[in-house]
């Protein structure tokens, strides 16, 4: 990552323009051209510095439901269970964490009922309990990391 990559990551975490040539507009602020910006973003995605580039949707405001789930999985069974969980398209994020509860994932679905069914399904498929922790209140959600 060079200075330009850092500037792109730091300044384009939000506010990407809604206009006909958004890359050209954003490139102007960065004092580069459209082609360079597109190429840089492609490379940052390929290298895994960025996981996505585009709109971040709020599932609940879209009329859907989401929840955080945790499982306590024995080490020898971990990879199998993680693969079974990941196979569901409703699993948006999945992290391994250093804790007795070592598998933490976010489920996004069309409704609370769909979430409940999915939790049961994952329990059946994996043979392990799923702890379902839906958010009751949100205080702050704005990820702004500096490169």
């Amino acid at each position: 990552m060079d200075e330009l990559d850092r500037a792109i990551v730091n300044r384009l975490q939000g506010g990407f323009p809604l206009c006909e040539r958004p890359f050209a507009r954003a490139a102007l602020d960065l004092k580069i051209d459209e082609k360079t910006l597109i190429l840089r973003i492609k490379t940052l995605l390929d290298e895994g510095v960025l996981t996505r580039f585009g709109p971040m949707y709020d599932v609940e405001r879209m009329g859907g439901a989401f929840t955080l789930c945790a499982m306590s999985v024995p080490a020898e069974d971990f990879e199998r269970v993680a693969a079974l969980v990941n196979a569901h398209p409703e699993v948006a994020h999945n992290y391994e964490r250093a804790h007795r509860f070592n598998l933490w994932f976010v489920l996004a679905a069309s409704s609370r009922e769909a979430i409940a069914l999915l939790v049961e399904k994952i329990e059946r498929e994996t043979g392990h309990r799923v702890m379902n922790l839906p958010r009751e209140e949100e205080y702050f959600v704005e990820l702004r990391l500096s490169a």
Partner: protein, 155 residues
């Protein structure tokens, strides 16, 4: 959800096309005009269905290797006020109140802390502990070991 909005979400949830006119490309895919795509995205941004449009970085790749989910058991009556205070700390990216699941899980306040080293993260966690004071009965830290999946929303 409006079926046209839904088609726009489906067309963009994996990311914007990396072409000079990405919204025109989406319009083509959805079968509406570019102006309508822009109008609908603007309204989703205005009412919060879209949080923001841009780059979603991978913490690890940016050097944030000490990412901890910190969990706290705080008085229910104080949770709202304390959650807002914790959420306002600059190193906290997400802060939520969630249900306890006793006896396995006594924690009701969750705060995600991102640091470039465990030492840095420890200082941040200590700051949260001081802020919560006596209202917090116990807490725990869950460092992330690896990302198993991170795709964002998929309809």
């Amino acid at each position: 959800m409006n079926p046209i909005d839904e088609r726009i979400v489906r067309a963009t949830q994996g990311g914007l096309p990396l072409v000079p006119a990405p919204y025109a490309r989406i319009a083509q895919e959805v079968g509406i005009s570019e102006a309508e795509v822009l109008e609908r995205l603007r309204s989703m941004l205005a009412d919060g269905r879209i949080r923001r449009i841009g780059a979603v970085p991978n913490h690890y790749a940016l050097g944030y290797t000490a990412n901890a989910m910190t969990v706290w058991d705080v008085d229910d009556e104080a949770a709202g006020e304390l959650g807002a205070a914790v959420g306002a700390l600059p190193f906290v990216s997400h802060c939520y109140r969630r249900p306890r699941r006793l006896p396995d899980w006594p924690y009701n306040l969750f705060a995600m802390v991102h640091g470039k080293s465990k030492e840095e993260t420890k200082v941040c966690i200590e700051e949260i502990r001081m802020l919560l004071g006596a209202a917090c009965r116990r807490h725990d830290l869950l460092y992330s070991v690896r990302i198993l999946k991170k795709t964002g929303l998929r309809l």
